[in-house]
């Protein structure tokens, strides 16, 4: 039950996107987000859709997994669509029934927004979480934010905390499973009764979970000290991040995509006038 969460998970692989420098991926993701919102005209947006599809193909992550990652967000997507369909008014009235008025513009904007949301979620999850291991990700963030060190921001410490937090998510999920089994074996019931009863039933899980989390934190701190961890000062890396030609090619592709979207926006405006 708890092992079915795919959003925010890393799928190891060796595709072009997996091999791109995580720092570049990080910055390019921001560009990609801007790109999605810049596309104003239909043609430009179609191009963004094609661009997203090619990212999916390049990452070689199965469509099934991507759809599974979208599952938890179905409610938000439907909610946005419904709001847009019913609340946006325009010129072409399609349905006029009692107080419900649906305009063609509303449907168009709903389709736009839903597609935009899907692009947003799949694009960022592929570029960042699905193809980048948590360690690479936090390393990249540390490097990108390293200028802040001049302002006495403890960048290394923050990134180490993030790495540890991410590392322990699966461990804690496993632990929760174990504790739940143990308490169920003692007759605990998590599935029935009123809300207050169910919240109360969580206590036998939460207390042991917190106790063991603190114990683990203690052990980990000691193990790190035993291996002479002293913070980021003068620490070297096993994997130095170095930009290679591939990273610049990927960046070039992104810049071209940017230009194409701008151009398509201009063209459609020009044609409509």
């Amino acid at each position: 039950m708890l092992s079915e969460i795919t959003l925010g998970q890393y799928f190891p692989g060796n595709s072009v996107i997996h091999r791109t420098d995580p720092r570049f991926k990080f910055v390019l993701t921001i560009f990609y987000l801007v790109l999605i919102f810049m596309a104003k005209s239909d043609v430009a947006f179609l191009f963004v859709l094609l661009f997203t599809a090619s990212i999916i193909l390049l990452s070689r992550i199965s469509l099934k997994l991507i759809l599974k990652g979208l599952k938890p967000l179905v409610f938000i997507i439907i909610f946005t669509a419904v709001i847009n369909i019913f609340w946006i008014s325009g010129e072409t009235l399609l349905v006029d029934f009692w107080i419900i008025k649906i305009y063609a513009e509303g449907i168009a904007s709903a389709v736009f927004l839903v597609l935009r949301l899907i692009c947003l979620i799949t694009g960022t999850s592929i570029l960042i979480s699905y193809t980048t291991s948590p360690v690479e990700l936090t390393d990249a963030m540390e490097r990108l934010f390293s200028p802040l060190k001049k302002l006495k921001v403890p960048v290394h410490d923050f990134s180490m905390m993030m790495t540890i937090a991410l590392r322990f998510i699966p461990t804690l999920i496993e632990e929760t499973d174990k504790i739940m089994s143990a308490q169920k074996a003692r007759g605990a019931d998590f599935e029935s009764g009123s809300i207050i009863r169910r919240v109360k039933a969580m206590i036998p899980i939460l207390i042991p979970l917190f106790v063991s989390a603190f114990r683990r934190a203690d052990d980990l701190a000691q193990a790190m000290e035993c291996r002479c961890y002293m913070g980021g000062e003068g620490r070297t890396r096993m994997k130095e991040m170095k930009a290679n030609p591939l990273d610049f090619i990927v960046t070039a592709v992104m810049v071209v995509a940017f230009a194409v979207v701008l151009l398509l926006n201009q063209l459609t405006i020009a044609f409509s006038i």
Partner: protein
């Protein structure tokens, strides 16, 4: 005779229909008699934990039937609490499940869920604590400030307090010192003797299995590889080695002695048996120290 536990052609598959599909247990059938002490051995990943979870309905079989005291576990989901009360399951490192303010309240959690109240509850908590060697002064302390060995006892007492007819223990003595080991296992045997319940012990310690169990099941890669009395199982040392297991130290000694032509028998698996054999070899005197 009624069987305490009966498994008929049970198969368990994890993640069925996904690329991560894994068969944890393959076509297992076994019958455990009431009042017996059964050992379950197998190397890591052989399916022991899955088998243990089947016994009180924490794991649903993919196919096959699991019966407890001649009742099908999955026939009526409403009876699940009854099943959980009849089959007490002590997981590995059970001390991590303690959560109440006092040891007493923690031991009472299980029986309370089973509907024990008032004097009956008090009686079962205190008798469970006694079987596990916890005295009254410990009962009022917080389960987080007592020693590791006492935590283990408290957690096991929490399961015994439900008065289970079948007690399943996954490595009950792992990580304890030798005296703690003997004390806990002897206490559990005392419980078994007084209540006539059935015990199933999962352990990697061949010495413990040899000392306490009447009957042994050997699991290998999700299948039952061998079963039989301690003497049968431990005289088949090659089979156990193949399953990634071992024989008790004393049996190893006798295997070596046989190689050197000094003794004939290798079905010796406890110190007591070895002592008897040595005595008879030395001329039947019984002054062994």
């Amino acid at each position: 005779m009624m069987h305490a536990v009966e498994l008929q052609n049970v198969t368990v598959v994890y993640g069925s229909g996904t690329p991560l599909e894994k068969t944890a247990l393959k076509d297992i059938s076994l019958k455990i008699e009431e009042g017996s002490v059964v050992g379950l051995i197998g190397h890591t990943g052989s399916g022991k934990s899955t088998l243990v979870k089947l016994l009180n309905g924490l794991q649903k079989p993919f196919s096959g039937k699991v019966s407890i005291l001649s009742e099908d576990v999955w026939k009526d989901p409403k009876r699940m609490r009854w099943v959980r009360g009849k089959v007490g399951l002590v997981f590995q490192y059970p001390e991590y499940q303690l959560f109440e303010e006092t040891v007493y309240a923690d031991i009472a959690f299980g029986p309370k869920n089973m509907g024990f109240t008032g004097e009956e509850l008090d009686k079962t908590v205190r008798s469970a604590a006694k079987f596990c060697g916890l005295d009254d002064s410990v009962l009022l302390r917080s389960p987080f400030e007592i020693s590791g060995g006492q935590k283990r006892r408290a957690a096991i007492a929490g399961v015994i307090a439900m008065n289970p007819k079948v007690l399943v223990l996954d490595e009950p003595a792992a990580g304890l010192d030798p005296r703690g080991r003997t004390n806990i296992l002897d206490g559990l045997m005392e419980y078994k003797k007084q209540t006539g319940s059935t015990m199933i012990i999962v352990s990697h310690s061949m010495e413990d299995i040899a000392k306490y169990c009447d009957y042994i099941y050997v699991l290998k890669d999700g299948s039952l590889m061998m079963e039989g009395s301690a003497a049968t199982i431990f005289s088949n040392a090659e089979g156990l080695f193949e399953a990634g297991l071992d024989v008790p130290q004393i049996t190893k000694l006798f295997i070596e002695l046989k190689k050197r032509g000094l003794v004939e028998r290798t079905d010796i698996y406890t110190i007591n048996k070895a002592r008897q054999l040595m005595n008879s070899l030395l001329g039947g005197e019984s002054d062994a120290k």
